[in-house]
């Protein structure tokens, strides 16, 4: 048995202390979960363990033997292997080629393919895995790729293996196969650190859970005797959930109705309605189908069945273009790749959803275009010296405001926001909430999805709980605590 010790690690970034004198230990032969909210410092810690960051203070050691890394390849040479959620495999190569990449058995200048494949097969056998070694990675499913990643990492005989959210892109049954492999890893002499957002997994796979909050370690639990509320307490402490302003009124008029909406396997039997001015939250864990639901309502993906009624009118042809014309807006989860054209200017981006308005008769009214951009920059307080600068010149929070501003220019009736606060600082978050409330005052409704449940409690009038593709409950923010809401999302009772 070996133990990885993290002692007094501190890491400061401009403006924030990501880790503050963190002391932890991880044992081999166990699955050690590392959990915490976004911004808790857990990814910083992972990057310190695998050499991507250097700590400002503190040390790492295994059984008292100190570890010192200058860079990730240093760390790798000393036995730190990381399996990232973004795949590092090469799609055009076979499974065996990927596992042994850079370490093929050679015979002079030539690769001895027979021996190379035999070596790869031995690695698979050792872990009790059955995979087609000659298959190209491009033809594998996501879970198979994860398995290949893990085998590849293990083939270097690491002392520590970091699994960074390996299940985030997997369906339920695929997760089970992966868990089987991870349990197999426990038999090897390797320290497993398992990072996850899916709290409900902890009881199934983890032996211990180490919790970080705001850069500080708040505790370590043996999962055997732990209750969900113990974990939640460590994660959130005494969160102060702020209330939304009390002047936000909901009218009686229904503006959006979704009926019997279905897209297998992502979501089933979804029905809800939204009143004018209402802010509705959809709460659910990663993989609950919430993003897929929002995309299908907006027409970004096709749904299998179901209807969407906007302002009393059933919309037959759901395409983003048609939904926009009918008064729906959608700010996607990944603003960089889906919400914005990064190389174009702030002005261009602010007008992309309102080109019909700024170009009457097909010709752009340059003055109106500038006005459209200026009014959003002013009212959303987008920080820039010129609207002609490219999007890349803006910070994350300001980029998000541009995505929202783009849609406000289209004068929608309902705005669908998928993770509007992801990756932006606290002030920008508050400004985004303020914008949502301002729209509500103007009679514009919102549907908000966020992984940060306390945000939903703060922003929304009403929260629907989604689990495994279904709506399983509905609460009012004033009736529940954050821990209760988390527990509901994970499948517990209040």
């Amino acid at each position: 048995m070996s133990i990885l010790n993290v002692r007094n690690i501190t890491k400061v970034f401009p403006g924030t202390k990501a880790l503050d004198k963190v002391t932890l230990s991880f044992e081999s032969g166990k699955v050690n979960a590392l959990i915490g909210k976004n911004g808790s410092g857990k990814s910083t810690l992972v990057k310190i363990i695998n050499g991507a960051y250097l700590p400002d203070e503190g040390t790492l050691d295994i059984d008292g033997t100190p570890l010192k890394f200058e860079n990730p390849s240093d760390a790798f040479d000393q036995g730190m292997a990381t399996v990232y959620q973004e795949m590092s495999l090469i799609p055009g190569l076979s499974v065996a080629e990927n596992i042994l990449i850079g370490r093929y058995v050679t015979n002079g200048a030539f690769v001895d393919w027979k021996k190379t494949y035999a070596k790869a097969q031995a690695l698979l056998d050792e872990m009790g895995i059955d995979l087609p070694l000659r298959e190209l990675v491009v033809n594998l499913s996501v879970w198979q790729c994860q398995v290949v990643e893990i085998v590849k990492a293990m083939s270097c005989r690491p002392k520590v293996i970091l699994l960074d959210e390996p299940t985030s892109a997997l369906a339920q049954h695929e997760t089970q196969i992966l868990f089987k492999l991870i349990r197999e890893l426990k038999k090897k002499d390797v320290i497993i650190i398992y990072i996850t957002h899916r709290l409900q997994e902890l009881w199934e796979i983890a032996d211990t859970s180490t919790v970080l909050r705001d850069g500080v370690s708040t505790g370590k639990l043996e999962m055997a005797g732990a209750q969900p509320r113990d974990i939640l307490k460590l994660m959130f402490g005494d969160v102060e959930v702020r209330n939304r302003p009390d002047d936000l009124k909901i009218s009686d008029e229904t503006v959006l109705e979704v009926k019997d909406f279905q897209r297998v396997p992502w979501f089933q039997d979804i029905s809800f309605s939204l009143k004018k001015g209402e802010i509705l939250g959809i709460a659910g864990m990663l993989g609950s189908g919430r993003t897929e639901l929002l995309r299908a309502i907006f027409g970004a993906d096709k749904a299998d069945s179901g209807t969407v009624v906007l302002d009393g009118e059933t919309i037959g042809n759901r395409s983003p273009r048609n939904m926009r014309r009918r008064g729906l807006a959608f700010t996607p989860e990944d603003r960089k790749s889906q919400g914005l054209v990064q190389i174009l200017s702030i002005k261009d981006n602010l007008c992309h959803a309102s080109l019909d308005q700024v170009s009457p008769g097909g010709f752009v009214d340059i003055k109106m275009e500038k006005n459209f951009a200026d009014r959003q920059v002013a009212s959303l307080q987008i920080k820039t010296t010129s609207i002609d600068l490219p999007m890349t010149s803006l910070s994350g929070g300001n980029q998000q405001k541009v995505v929202v501003g783009k849609w406000l220019n289209a004068e929608p009736k309902v705005i669908i926001l998928d993770e509007p606060s992801r990756g932006i600082d606290v002030n920008a978050k508050q400004q985004i909430f303020q914008i949502i409330w301002d729209q509500s005052r103007r009679g514009i409704s919102s549907v908000v999805v966020s992984s940060e449940l306390e945000e939903l409690l703060e922003v929304c009038h009403r929260i629907i709980i989604m689990r495994l593709g279904r709506f399983v409950g509905e609460v009012r923010p004033e009736d529940v605590t954050i821990e209760q809401l988390y527990s509901l999302c994970m499948g517990g009772e209040i």
């Binding site: 273009r321 014309r325 992309h352 010709f363 783009k406």
Partner: protein, 336 residues
């Protein structure tokens, strides 16, 4: 955004922004001083006439490349359009349906429609099956060339009325070459489309990030098909001009023109990744190519050497653009 880059030495920003224009001016000045007969009105107009054929298409190609697509088959389309115009004119007049003088109008219309249909076909395959336009048009390059050869049976077709020569070789007011007019018209129309219309804005958005454009409610399919049609129609026009210049249509026309066209667009600063580019830049690119070629001719540089110089020029231009873009992005990132 940047206290550093924003208010520093203005000359450096100016020279960065107008790098291509400055280099072109420099070359022109050198040629004015050193090359015999360069700075004469006939020679200047000659330059424009020489670049007109590739130039007309290059503005369409600018739209296409900004929109994230490419068309490699425009050279063959020149041939097909020229062959069709001459052949149809001949057939109509031979059959006694109408005299050559008016038959050529019908023939030109046919050539344009065929260009339109080729573009439509490319666009359909591109958007319906999501195959890269590079591959589709590489295949079409052969198909179109083969069709032109088949229709003309491999020989030049010369059944064209005398007045038709004016389109390709005429002179307005006895001095201004008519092909240069087509060049300027093509420039003006595409310039207006790309800078002043809703469609132009959509092309930039689609080229910059098709998914974001789609989720903003832009009809990405329509944009992609339209730009692929536009470049083909302009290639057909170019084919008409060429057939009028030499008063015949042949399947050997236009070979390799796609390279000149794409070169001009790239020299003009349009990015192959889509979303970035200016119609004005392509105009500079076209003039650049014309001036360099003309200068080399005046100095008696051989055809083989010309190829080498042109090739290096493209490489140099792309290097320049890439370095500029990278320094811009670095500045933007640092600023965050």
């Amino acid at each position: 955004m940047k206290p550093a880059a924003g208010k520093t030495f203005n000359l450096s920003r100016f020279s960065k922004k107008y790098m291509l224009e400055l280099i072109l001016s420099f070359i022109v000045i050198v040629l004015v001083v050193t090359a015999p007969g360069f700075f004469t009105l006939p020679n200047i107009l000659n330059i424009f006439r020489n670049v007109a054929l590739a130039g007309v298409i290059s503005f369409g190609m600018t739209m296409t490349i900004i929109g994230g697509e490419i068309d490699l088959s425009v050279g063959s389309s020149i041939a097909l359009s020229a062959v069709l115009t001459a052949t149809i004119t001949g057939a109509l007049s031979k059959a006694g349906i109408m005299p050559m003088e008016s038959a050529v109008f019908v023939a030109m219309a046919c050539a344009l429609v065929v260009g339109f249909l080729i573009g439509l076909f490319n666009g359909f395959i591109r958007t319906k099956f999501n195959i890269p336009s590079f591959i589709i048009t590489l295949a079409m390059l052969n198909v179109v060339y083969g069709s032109a050869a088949l229709i003309s049976k491999g020989f030049p077709v010369t059944t064209l009325p005398d007045w038709y020569n004016w389109i390709g070789a005429g002179q307005l007011f006895g001095i201004f070459p008519v092909p240069a007019i087509w060049l300027l018209m093509s420039f003006a129309i595409v310039f207006v489309i790309m800078n002043l219309t809703k469609f132009g804005r959509e092309v930039y958005a689609v080229g910059g990030n098709p998914e974001s454009a789609r989720l903003s409610g832009i009809n990405v399919t329509f944009v992609k098909i339209t730009i692929l049609v536009a470049v083909q129609v302009l290639a057909a026009i170019s084919g008409i001009i060429l057939s009028a210049q030499v008063m015949s249509g042949s399947s050997t026309f236009g070979r390799g023109y796609e390279m000149d066209v794409i070169s001009a667009v790239i020299i003009g600063g349009t990015s192959f990744n889509g979303g970035i580019g200016k119609v004005w830049g392509t105009m500079i690119g076209i003039v650049f190519l014309g001036v360099i070629n003309n200068g080399m001719t005046l100095f008696g540089v051989g055809d083989f050497e010309k190829y080498i110089v042109r090739g290096l020029l493209i490489l140099f231009a792309v290097l320049l653009n890439t370095i500029q873009l990278q320094s811009l992005q670095k500045a933007a990132k640092k600023d965050r």
